[in-house]
């Protein structure tokens, strides 16, 4: 501990700390532009100059390490003169366009100009003008305003890991940009809007929408991934205008993914459903709540009486709240059905009985930073969970190594120590081979049940490297299964093997739940209950379900087995869709009940580390739309179900028997009872499924700005170029993809990242939604 004095106050500081950090901690404000606590020190703006005793000239507080006994004056004449001088230079080239600048009111330059700027300019020469680069649909540019602090450049280098912005030219001619036309592709790109101290980088979707001071501000949680980032939702006269990160050092620090930042645009989408609708003789008719609820209740009761409750099923979006999950399952169980699920990405439910508690990360998000080794299986962490990935990236920069076993060669923003890319069935073989190598190394018996999947002749260098890494007991390691593992057609086998491997190696096994999935488990939105086991989402299609209750979902686009569910929904007697969007389920639903969505409803969000946070309503839903829990409560009333008399969300939350922090409670990893499937070759390709970052839920698919980013390619069947030439296919060739009798058409894209023998076809596209989910598809030229 060092003792220093700033402006007469005695303060304590750590060795190596910069002056500005100590001042910030003590609440002493030193003006700054380029300094940011999560970025490296550039010391290029000189706004933070302060006087230091015995120093001959003012020193930059952001780049001056403290020394014992240092005496600092941040507001002495020398300091103020230096700061004013810097300010005058910065303003020389800055346009006086504050009235038409979106940053106005929250501009660090504007604020400091008030404090340190002159009231008139002495500069009469020409000002510089800079051309604006087009950075894509999210970030608007006005580079004449740039003060060259390089925060955005350092962000690319240090945080997002892809250096896209740069400072080209020199001196007066320096410009910040991409130099060549280039839409920025980082999933964290929106953060440069917050970082930019001036109006050079602003939000495109928010352009000219409101002034910062006239908006109301509500703290909430972003619902699209399992991190549950803390956010501020800002509204003007009831309209959601913008979402900003709320600092939360346990979860998102000061950052926010683009997905969470811009998903609010769907709240204002023209597709919102504002009145209940009933389909009569094929025509949609608007109606009032009483009529709609009565007809839903009648329909449900009649069908249950006629066909039995086992022909009734409910699917709820994992982005819903704990309270909605609870009432949803209570309603269905009240009607006698256990066919309840939220796990839309689940393709293989054979291991349903093994879960002791919710799939979860198994450690605090923060702790990812301190791991030495992580193996990701079936996980494109960077796009799946941008905030978790950022933590892991920090670990890598500190020396950790991250390896992947993936069915598609995804690009990461850090180096991977092992990149084992193979077909989905090859992934099983890889894990099995690693188990074999590791058992040899540790002197264990090779687990019998895994033997069928092992192929000692195909053990490769990557398997050896991973086994060696797991054998190293001195490192803090983890094994994490991601979305591609849920979407894996033989996911139960993959999970079981991962469990065997993790146990053998003595490392933590984590799963990345879908969005608010942990809350869904806690609230009972899974098909298992104490008494009985119902059907999981992966099995509902085969059971001739005739009555469906859908909550915030579009199963044909959300689910691993979307094609099967679409067929079942088309075939159903009654489909009730509680939805925020008129277009959701429009083709197969019989009744649509207009629901609130995120930003309009309150509730609880439990993230993958088990932290419960509160979602708040920043505004009211449009028209007659109502909060989900109120709709479910009202419907229960029409159904005469007892136990729904809750008046507030907190009363519902209190009723949920929330077991403490979830541990990844996966039972033993035995594979007895599972058979190895052989995958045919030729025209039959193994299907690789993923759900792309901006197509994962009904809300995201209606965010127009996100839909226009480079992360949202048009639908296509991606195959390896060698594979394509063997099949006689060229880029953009139209092909037919077939599973049994069903086929869809789509163009081919040649892609080196797809392993041979496979076709990469993500879910979430209307054009290919009809194709049933399966391990393999037949691909022929159409």
């Amino acid at each position: 501990m060092l003792n220093i004095e700033i402006d007469g106050r005695q303060l304590q500081a750590e060795e190596g700390e910069m002056l500005i950090e100590v001042a910030d901690r003590a609440g002493i404000y030193i003006p700054r532009f380029c300094y940011h606590k999560h970025l490296s020190v550039a010391a290029n703006c000189r706004m933070c100059l302060v006087e230091v005793e015995k120093a001959p000239k003012p020193l930059p507080a952001c780049a001056t390490p403290v020394t014992d006994g240092m005496k600092v004056f941040s507001r002495s004449e020398l300091a103020m003169d230096a700061q004013k001088g810097t300010m005058e230079f910065l303003l020389i080239n800055h346009p006086l366009d504050c009235p038409i600048c979106d940053q106005g009111g929250e501009c660090e330059l504007q604020d400091l100009a008030v404090g340190y700027g002159g009231d008139r300019s002495r500069y009469t020469e020409e000002k510089r003008v800079v051309r604006d680069p087009d950075l894509g649909p999210l970030v608007a540019t006005e580079m004449t305003r740039c003060i060259h602090c390089t925060r955005c450049v350092r962000f690319g280098q240090e945080i997002s890991g892809i250096r896209e912005m740069g400072a080209t030219g020199r001196g007066e001619h320096t410009t910040i940009g991409t130099y060549v036309q280039h839409a920025i592709g980082s999933e964290l790109s929106g953060n440069i809007i917050d970082l930019c101290p001036v109006g050079a980088l602003t939000s495109k979707p928010f352009k000219f929408a409101a002034r910062s001071w006239e908006m109301a501000d509500v703290a909430s949680v972003a619902p699209h991934d399992c991190a549950g980032s803390s956010i501020r939702i800002q509204t003007l006269r009831g309209k959601v205008e913008r979402v900003l990160p709320l600092e939360n050092n346990d979860i998102n620090e000061t950052w926010l993914s683009d997905r969470d930042r811009f998903s609010y645009t769907a709240v204002n989408s023209g597709e919102r459903l504002t009145v209940p609708r009933i389909r009569k003789k094929g025509e949609w008719q608007e109606t009032d709540w009483a009529t709609a609820l009565q007809s839903v209740a009648d329909g449900l009761l009649q069908n249950v009486a006629k066909q039995g409750a086992d022909k009734l099923a409910g699917i709820i979006s994992p982005t819903s709240t704990l309270e909605e999950f609870y009432l949803f399952q209570k309603l269905l169980r009240g009607l006698g059905s256990n066919n309840i699920d939220h796990r839309l990405k689940l393709a293989d439910s054979r291991d349903d009985g093994r879960w002791a508690s919710a799939p979860a990360l198994g450690m605090p998000i923060k702790e990812l930073e301190s791991l030495d080794f992580v193996l990701l299986i079936g996980c494109n962490l960077r796009k799946e969970q941008p905030i978790l990935n950022h933590r892991l990236r920090k670990a890598v920069l500190a020396g950790a190594d991250v390896a992947v076993i993936n069915p598609y060669d995804y690009e990461f923003n850090y180096p991977l120590s092992v990149r084992a890319v193979s077909s989905p069935s090859g992934m099983l073989q890889s894990v099995a081979n690693i188990i074999r190598l590791l058992s040899d190394k540790l002197g264990h018996d090779v687990p019998e049940d895994v033997i069928p999947w092992m192929d000692p002749t195909r053990i490769n260098q990557q398997h050896r490297a991973l086994a060696d890494r797991f054998a190293d007991r001195n490192s803090k390691s983890a094994l994490i299964l991601g979305q591609l593992a849920w979407l894996h057609e033989e996911g139960a086998i993959l999970r079981s093997m991962a469990k065997t491997l993790a146990d053998m190696a003595g490392v933590s096994l984590g799963f990345l739940p879908e969005a608010n999935g942990v809350a869904a488990w806690q609230a009972g939105c899974t098909p298992f209950s104490e008494q009985d086991k119902g059907l999981s989402v992966a099995d509902m299609d085969a059971a001739e379900i005739k009555t469906w209750l859908l909550f915030g979902v579009e199963p044909e686009l959300d689910a691993a087995h979307g094609g099967q569910l679409l067929a079942a929904l088309n075939d159903a007697d009654i489909v009730v869709a509680i939805t925020a969007f008129a277009s959701a389920g429009e083709s197969y639903a019989d009744v649509q009940l207009p629901a609130a969505m995120f930003a309009e409803n309150a509730g609880t969000f439990v993230n993958c580390e088990g932290a419960a946070q509160t979602l708040s309503a920043a505004t009211t839903p449009p028209g007659d739309a109502r909060e989900g829990w109120k709709i479910l409560r009202a419907l229960a009333g029409y159904l005469d179900l007892p136990g729904f008399d809750f008046d507030t969300v907190s009363a519902i939350a209190a009723a949920v028997d929330a077991a403490g922090a979830p541990s990844p409670g996966y039972g033993m990893g035995s594979l007895s009872g599972y058979a190895k499937t052989e995958h045919a070759g030729g025209e039959n390709l193994e299907r690789i499924r993923d759900s792309l970052i901006y197509r994962g839920d009904a809300i995201l698919r209606r965010c127009e700005p996100l839909q226009r980013t480079t992360d949202n390619p048009p639908p296509a069947a991606r195959i390896n170029p060698q594979q394509a030439s063997r099949l006689g296919l060229e880029q953009d060739a139209k092909v037919k993809l077939m599973v049994d009798e069903t086929s869809v058409e789509t163009p081919v894209v040649l892609d080196q990242r797809v392993p041979e023998g496979c076709v990469f076809l993500p879910i979430g596209y209307l054009e290919t939604a009809a194709l049933p989910g399966s391990a393999s598809v037949r691909l022929v030229r159409s």
Binding site: I162, E164, M165, G166, T168, G169, R170, T178, Y179, V180
Partner: protein, 159 residues
């Protein structure tokens, strides 16, 4: 490896890389840019991208270096580059006459290239030869104590 860079440039970069430790390969960027310019007379976008790929950099990092230094030519220019110093010493000793003489003789302004593609005329800052002011650099050579006559003689001898 990519095809934009010639074999000799790639060899030169490989040799250059040996001067730097493995994690500092990006240090070769300046030399790499110079090799390309020496061979092609200028550095294209494609060449910068190729250098980025070879050195494991993001393209923008190469653009930053290339645009920072005025001696990297990012546009095609004349076969001969005439760089006239117009900094203080040269200015006091008559660099403006040197410039106007060259402008008249070549029929171009500074910053331009003759129609036949033979000469580019540039103004540059101090080249560290103030003792011989006014001076210019023709391609790789310095020429000092210039007069209209020595300038004419200089240009006459060129192809």
């Amino acid at each position: 490896m990519n095809q934009v860079l010639s074999q000799s440039v790639r060899d030169a970069i490989t040799r250059e890389l040996q001067k730097y430790p493995a994690e500092q390969q990006q240090s070769a960027v300046m030399a790499a840019l110079r090799f390309v310019q020496e061979e092609n007379n200028w550095i294209s976008r494609e060449a910068m991208d190729a250098i980025a790929e070879v050195l494991g950099l993001q393209p923008i990092q190469v653009y930053e270096v290339a645009t920072f230094y005025s001696m990297y030519r990012l546009q095609p220019g004349g076969k001969h580059q005439i760089n006239v110093c117009t900094n203080v010493s040269c200015m006091l000793c008559g660099s403006s006459e040197v410039i106007s003489h060259l402008q008249d003789r070549l029929g171009i302004e500074t910053g331009q290239t003759t129609a036949d593609g033979r000469f580019s005329l540039n103004e540059v800052e101090c080249l560290g030869a103030c003792g011989g002011a006014p001076m210019l650099q023709l391609d790789r050579d310095y020429h000092e104590n210039l007069t209209p006559e020595t300038l004419d003689a200089l240009l006459e001898g060129l192809d």
